[in-house]
Amino acid sequence: MKNLTFQEKTLWISLFAVIFVYGLYYLNVLPAVDGNMETPHIWQYFKYIGLLILVIVIGVVAIAIKDRNELVDERQKLIEMKADRVSAYLLHSGILVAIVVAMFVPGNYWFIHTITVVGVLTDVVNKIQQLLAYKRGY
């Protein structure tokens, strides 16, 4: 961790937080409901979102205490832009899959969760791409 930039450390923390929190959510919630997403399910989802934000904020604050003066330079911005471009294609493809799910699966539950899975996968792929680019140098 010593040779990593603030950006890389933030990416690692966000990646672990997303995998951990959404992993918990899908393990606990996904098999339990079918048909429609009701108000209690939505509140449960927001609880996990709150947990995700909390984990990321605690992690980022912890590393910011040490690296608070570090800037974001042109290479880091380019790495982020490259990863965002690929993620955008993935997101658009995932939305098409969600539309197909909405057409053929009754209720809104699987449609909503296809959207969330697509969002999570897009985010994970984006962060992994950035981490690989940092490892290669660009």
């Binding site: 040779n3 930039t5 800037l71 330079d73 042109e74 290479r75 380019l78 940092y134 140098g137 660009y138």
Partner: protein
């Protein structure tokens, strides 16, 4: 910007001839991270013209003495 196999540089030897200037010291002068200086030095990343000029200014050398381009 990005990665170009045709661009090489003399940053390592220039740092050596400037009292073994560290990558962090150069990074602070140029306004980038130490890791970006490392990536430039090892030809993994070609900087923008602005950063290239800032590096040349830091060593008080013309740009062409710091960076070389070979057309194949």
């Amino acid at each position: 910007m990005g990665k170009s196999p045709n661009i090489s540089n003399q940053i390592r030897s220039l740092r050596f001839h400037h009292e073994e200037m560290t990558q962090q010291q150069l990074a602070d002068l140029v306004g980038v991270t130490r890791q970006t200086i490392n990536a430039i030095e090892h030809n993994k990343y070609s900087p923008s013209l602005e950063v290239a000029f800032k590096i040349a200014v830091a060593f008080n050398k013309p740009l062409t003495e710091v960076f070389q381009y070979e057309a194949h």
